[in-house]
C-alpha cells in the first residue's frame, strides 16, 4: 500500500522573534507575524506511484514532504496514509535525506540493518539485508564505511536501508544533490529500474525538470511561496523516455519550464 490523501492541508509558522531585515526580497517580519508556507493543498498519491515534485527553491516542497513523513506538524487540514492519520515519523515512511543520512560510524551492512534490527528471525534479517544490498548493486561493499564510498554509492546504500524495512512510502528530498552529472544520470536509471521492481510509492523532490520528466509517473509543480499546485500531470510515456524522439514529452518539458518562469533559455 502507500496511498496518500491530503485534504486542504496548510502550514504556517508564527515568527518567534522579530527578524532583522532579510537578504532576500521578503518584507521584514515582526514577532508574532504569521508566515504562510503552504496554502490549502489537496493532493492524492496513489499506491506505487513515483511522483516528482518540482518548484522554485524555498517554495515549501520540502516542508510538504516532511509533513507527510511525520517530521513536522501541519497547521490545518487532514493527511492520511492508507486510511491512517499521520502522527509522527514511522518506519512505514522512510526518508532519504538531501545530504548523506547514513550513520558514518556504521558500515553499509550495519546501516542497512537499522530498520530491521528488532526482527526476531536473524537468518531472515541477513537474507533480507543482503537482498536489498544486491538490489542497489552494493554487493561486496557490505563492510565499507560510508566515507569509503563514492557519493552515488552512499545514496544507494541509503536507498537499500530505506527499502529493507518495506515502507509504504519512500521520501526522497533531492537525493542526487551533490552528485556529479554522470552519476546523477546513472542514479536516475537505477531509481527507474528499482521502482519498476518494487512498485512503492515514491515522493521525489527535485529541481531538475528533465530529471522529473524522465523518471516520474506523475509530476506536481508548485508555485513560489506560499506554495500552491500549478500543475499535476500524469505521465504515461513509456521508459526509456527521450525528449528528442517524443515530441509530446518535449512539449510538456517546455510547458513546465514556462510554468516555472523560464521562457527563452530552453
Amino acid at each position: 500500500m502507500g496511498h496518500v490523501v491530503i485534504k486542504s492541508l496548510t502550514k504556517s509558522y508564527v515568527e518567534r522573534r522579530a527578524a532583522k531585515r532579510q537578504a532576500n526580497s521578503d518584507p521584514p517580519v515582526g514577532k508574532g507575524a504569521v508566515f504562510e508556507v503552504l496554502t490549502p493543498i489537496d493532493l492524492e498519491f496513489w499506491d506505487g506511484e513515483l511522483v516528482c515534485i518540482l518548484g522554485p527553491s524555498g517554495c515549501g516542497k520540502t516542508t510538504l514532504i516532511r509533513i507527510i513523513a511525520g517530521f513536522e506538524s501541519l497547521t490545518s487540514g487532514t493527511l492520511f496514509i492508507d486510511g491512517k492519520e499521520v502522527d509522527g515519523p514511522s518506519p512505514d515512511n522512510i526518508f532519504v535525506f538531501q545530504h548523506n543520512g547514513l550513520l558514518p560510524w556504521f558500515t553499509v551492512w550495519e546501516n542497512v540493518l537499522l530498520g530491521i534490527r528488532n526482527l526476531n528471525d536473524k537468518a531472515q534479517v541477513k537474507t533480507r539485508a543482503q537482498e536489498y544490498i544486491d538490489i542497489v548493486n552494493l554487493t561486496g561493499f557490505e563492510n565499507y564505511y560510508p566515507h569509503q564510498l563514492s557519493g552515488g554509492m552512499q545514496r544507494r546504500a541509503e536507498i537499500a536501508r530505506a527499502l529493507v524495512v518495506n515502507p509504504e512510502v519512500l521520501f526522497m528530498d533531492e537525493p542526487f544533490a551533490g552528485l556529479d552529472f554522470l552519476t546523477r544520470l546513472k542514479m536516475r536509471e537505477e531509481i527507474i529500474n528499482m521502482h519498476e521492481f518494487i512498485r512503492k510509492t515514491i515522493l521525489f523532490i527535485t529541481h531538475d525538470i528533465e530529471e522529473a520528466l524522465v523518471m516520474a509517473d506523475r509530476i506536481v509543480v508548485f508555485s513560489d511561496r506560499p506554495a500552491n499546485i500549478r500543475m499535476n500531470i500524469k505521465l504515461d510515456f513509456p521508459h526509456p523516455r527521450d525528449f528528442h524522439v517524443d515530441s509530446e514529452l518535449e512539449k510538456l518539458r517546455r510547458e513546465v519550464y514556462q510554468e516555472l518562469g523560464v521562457h527563452y533559455a530552453l
Binding site: 517530521f71 518506519p91 515512511n93 543520512g101 556504521f106 537499522l114 566515507h147
Partner: protein, 260 residues
Amino acid sequence: MTNIPGLNTSKLKQDLLPVVAFLIVGATWEIAAKFSGWSPAVFPSPRQAGIGMWELIINGALLKHSVASLFRVTLGFYLAVLLAIPLGIILGWWKTGQLAFNSLIQFLRPISPLAWIPLAVLWFGIGDKPAIFLIFLSSFFPLLVSAITAVNHINPLYFQVAANFRFTKYETATMIIFPAILPGILPALRISLGIAWLVVVAAEMIAVKSGLGYLILDSRNALRMDYVMDAMIAIGVIGILLDKVISQLTRIKSVSWGSM
C-alpha cells in the same frame, strides 16, 4: 611518531631528527654542568644522572614509584571518563539540564585541582584516595565540557534517522550519540590524560609515600638532585607513552570517519 603537516621527509630522517634534538640538549646539559661552577650535588651532569638512574632501576625504586603513579592516574582518569562522558551525554541531550548546570560547571572548571589539596587531604586522609580524587577532578571537567559540546554539535539529521527508525532513548544514546561524539572527545581524552599526569606529581608531593612525585620530594630531602632529575626523565618518558597509547584510539575504524 608525530605527523607534522607539510613535512615530507624519509622515514630514516623522521626517526633520526628527534634523537638529534635529544642529543643536542644532552650535550648542552653536560657542558652547562661542567662549566656552571656548581657542585654536582646541586647540578648533576647527564652522566651522574645516568648512574643514578641505573641505581634506581637496580633497586626497583623507579619501577615501584612509576607503577604507583600510573595506578593513581589510571584509576582517577577512568573514574573521570566513566562519570563525565555519560553525564555529558545526558546534559548535552537534555537542554533544560544543560541550561541549569552549565554555569555551575563553568564556575567549577577553572578552579585548579591543586586548590582542592587541603580539602582532599582533610576528606580522604593520607594515601591513594586524595591523589586519585585530585586526578579525577583534573580530568572530569575538561571531559564533561567537551562531551556536552560534542553532543550539541551532532548533525540533527542523525536524530531524524533515529526517529524514522523508531529508536528507543537507549538506542539513541548508544547508537547515535555515543558514536557521534567519539571523534570529538578523543582530543579531550588525550589532553585530560596529559593533565592527569601533570597533576599526579603534585598530588604525590603531599599525601603519599610512593609515586614519582614522592620520589622527587624524597630525593630533594636527601639532596640527591640526580634522583630528582631521573624522576623527571621517567615522568617525561611515561608521558610520551601514555599519549601514544591514547592516540591509538583514533585508529579505530568506527571512529576514523571523524577525521574525514
